[in-house]
Symmetry: C2
């Protein structure tokens, strides 16, 4: 159902541009849970999040003529940084629309990579509208930030790396924003024949996948403010939802306090700076007893580390 040849090709294509991130075993978490807990330290990725994996695949498989027209995406910030970074390396123009309340760190980093930032929209839905308006007005090429098979095939390299490090992985916890990462991860695991359990995680206040799974199709949602700003798009992807529905065992909802606790734990105990989206898998893991045994290898996708220092300070205080 998923084509390993395509996933391998995407990994080879993007390999020179992305970091092969480490899988770190946490003895503290392993002791706490009675199984082997591994952290996929994707916060060490270029631009501080997984998004470059897919973005490079998208840009490298696009025609040179399209790249020359200039590129645009809408993003809470991590896709914005990834597009700006990848476009910069490939000599293309990158425009991104971001919500007004976007993380200051993500805005600054996107500009730092040479991206042109348009701040517009109280909601991500409005930001999306502005993006489409710019596509029409400027003739830019729209680059999907999550809802795209090629993008997921790029993200799949993260799953292939996990399988190299723990071939007998038992379970993976991964945040769901629009579903691009968990989609790519699911593709990789299943294409390799792994039957690892896949758990999605969403903030209670931003649960577009949960609501789409209930409705049977993507639905527009209005999100509350969440520490996991990377997990709060206005709607889950059309391309990602069927994969989530088929491969993800359960989507776990986590509270803001659970996310904050997980950020603090990763920082003070593991010395890793995770953003809310990256800490959410730990929040889900710690939200209940799972019954994993001592031979189980459980991976938490810490997908990014781009959090505003001021916001982090508030979480710590």
């Amino acid at each position: 159902m998923y084509d390993m040849t395509r996933l391998r090709a995407a990994r080879e294509r993007t390999g020179p541009y992305v970091t092969r991130t480490p899988l770190i075993r946490s003895s503290t978490l392993s002791k706490e849970t009675g199984c082997n807990i591994f952290i996929k330290a994707e916060l060490f990725q270029k631009t501080g999040s997984f998004k470059v994996r897919g973005m490079f695949n998208s840009l490298l498989t696009m025609s040179a003529a399209d790249r020359a027209r200039g590129l645009i995406c809408f993003s809470a910030g991590n896709a914005a940084q990834a597009l700006a970074y990848a476009a910069g390396i490939m000599g293309a123009r990158a425009v991104v629309t971001m919500p007004e309340a976007a993380s200051l760190t993500k805005i600054a980093a996107t500009k730092g990579y040479g991206g042109e930032v348009i701040l517009d929209g109280k909601t991500t839905a409005e930001t999306y509208e502005r993006c489409m308006a710019e596509v029409a007005a400027q003739g830019l090429v729209f680059v999907p930030s999550y809802d795209d098979v090629g993008l997921m095939e790029g993200h799949a390299s993260l799953g292939l790396e996990i399988l190299e490090d723990v071939p007998d992985v038992s379970a993976v916890f991964c945040g769901i924003g629009g579903g691009g990462l968990i989609g790519g991860l699911s593709m990789a695991l299943r294409a390799a024949g792994s039957s690892a359990r896949i758990f999605g995680v969403e903030p209670e206040v931003a649960s577009c996948a949960t609501q789409a799974l209930r409705a049977g199709h993507p639905v527009h949602v209005v999100n509350g403010r969440t520490l996991a700003d990377g997990l709060a798009p206005p709607i889950v992807g059309k391309q990602t939802l069927p994969i989530i529905a088929r491969e993800v065992e359960e989507v776990i909802l986590v509270s803001e306090e659970q996310i904050a606790d997980a950020i603090r734990f990763l920082l003070t105990r593991c010395k890793l700076l995770a953003e809310g989206a990256g800490a959410s898998p730990l929040a889900a893991l710690r939200s209940r007893k799972w019954g994993f045994g001592e031979k189980d290898n459980v991976v938490l996708c810490v997908c990014g580390g781009n959090i505003d220092p001021a916001r982090l300070a508030a979480v710590l205080s």
Copy 2:
């Protein structure tokens, strides 16, 4: 001059108990400096600092009878945690005296590992006096926290790991508290025949090594409050000073603002939580132009990550 056989034996002896920490190349810092900058991520070490390397060597080479009497050290916190952790694993009693203003995180962690904490002393000199008083009163065995050859031989494993990862290392920056880590590191490099340049780093307000080098012998110092609480003992070691004098090219003094900047940089750009002592090498690196070339491999010893969340929040605000 330094005995590689002894260093290898110490590494083998302590190997089962300590983490083989990764060396992480920073593309951002490498681009900024025009050479290859590597971070020795010792903040991932057991207990969050390098101190367990030497402490296990000390405890494993001690007689069982001595261990049975109970152990004591004085410490700003990282040696305290290391002693409590190592003693706990070996079934020995651990008492530590810590200054009244010690990091709350370090106090809590030491107790968490089963250590008995005595908070006493406005200065580390007073804490040392209290430690000696307890040795006399309780008949405990004093375990040096920096001034000891066996301890340094344990710390030397950090240097051997660096040499495995970058055999042609050009320069190493390392904080100096009492000199135990830089002493062990120097032993390892020179025993292996490396002529890498070794730079020490001290806070401007806590410069016992600088003052001892000037005087030609260890001198008691009165330290100011510093973010690098791990680099502020009352006096440099008698055993460490001759090694520092012989092997360290220069001791660089860094300001509190430079240390704070380095903590912020490591956190927001590298996603790593360094305590002040761990961030000091980066502060020194960024304090001037060094003239390293593109083939130079420069290592920053990020020796620990145990910083109070409240203090970190203040640094971020």
